[in-house]
């Protein structure tokens, strides 16, 4: 769909946002995790009929560590204590969900979980619960992780009209097949 090799994240995400015509005034003001999450979500939600009743379930390993480190660096010197408000607001991982909701006008349930590794079991059960309990008509789910120079986004949309069965094994299979493809590329 889009690839650039040997390029640092800021250049990659800017090129990707331009390529996918991601139009969001706040895009360059967001932290790295939010940029990654919003761009990935945008690709999926753009081709989808507008549906305010879309839940969001995201998981990662590093939480908001990238922004946490920047904030820590800004407050570590008592003689030069100037925390940045625009960095501080991103020192929670679920803020990236808020950005997606604002851009796509989503008003349903959302949650952000932190696990050591990709967790298809929790992804499956949480999405399945929301849909079966009629808490949402579709769910945007996935893994969005950003830590130092490593980043990874794997998102998918679950709805009644999907073409792949919503099963834990399928989530695991698709994730690992994409991960191995990305590693080989």
């Amino acid at each position: 769909m889009f690839s650039l090799k040997n390029i640092q994240f800021p250049h990659f995400i800017k090129a990707a946002a331009t390529h996918f015509k991601t139009d969001y005034p706040k895009f360059y003001k967001m932290d790295n995790l939010s940029k990654l999450a919003l761009l990935s979500a945008d690709i999926l939600l753009k081709g989808n009929d507008k549906n305010e009743d879309t839940a969001i379930l995201l998981f990662n390993r590093a939480s908001s560590l990238d922004s946490d480190r920047k904030h820590q660096a800004a407050i570590s010197d008592p003689e030069n204590f100037y925390p940045s408000p625009s960095v501080f607001v991103y020192t929670l991982p679920n803020i990236c969900i808020g950005e997606i909701c604002i851009k796509h006008h989503l008003h349903s349930e959302n949650a952000f979980f932190v696990f050591d590794t990709f967790n298809p079991k929790h992804l499956f059960f949480n999405a399945d619960y929301l849909l079966k309990q009629n808490k949402a008509t579709q769910a945007l789910c996935g893994w969005v992780d950003f830590d130092d120079k490593n980043y990874e986004a794997f998102l998918y949309l679950v709805s009644e009209n999907g073409i792949i069965a919503h099963q834990q094994e399928e989530i695991e299979r698709i994730y690992h097949s994409h991960k191995s493809k990305a590693t080989n590329d």
């Binding site: 800017k14 005034p25 360059y28 003001k29 940045s84 408000p85 625009s86």
Partner: protein, 85 residues
């Protein structure tokens, strides 16, 4: 004063991550908030931090901030009058 205005424009573009915007794109009298540059409340907080860190000016009255951040011209005049560094 022109030098200070350009310095402020550079700082605003850099600190607020106004991607693809250049000094020449900002008019001295453009509104910083609302219809002008479209800055938001978090940007306002960043500008307050910048005034303190770079010019030694501490804004404590929100009403004062609303007036000071009207445009680059107004901000530059305020800084020239009140700066301690």
């Amino acid at each position: 004063m022109t030098e200070l205005k350009n310095e402020l424009k550079e700082k605003i573009i850099d600190i607020l991550n106004l991607e693809d915007l250049f000094i020449s794109d900002i008019d001295d009298n453009d509104a910083l908030f609302g219809d002008g540059l479209g800055l938001d409340s978090i940007d306002a907080l960043e500008l307050i931090v910048m005034l303190d860190r770079d010019f030694g000016i501490q804004l404590t009255d929100p009403k004062e901030g609303k007036e000071v951040f009207k445009s680059i011209s107004v901000l530059a005049e305020y800084i020239a009058e009140h700066r301690t560094k």
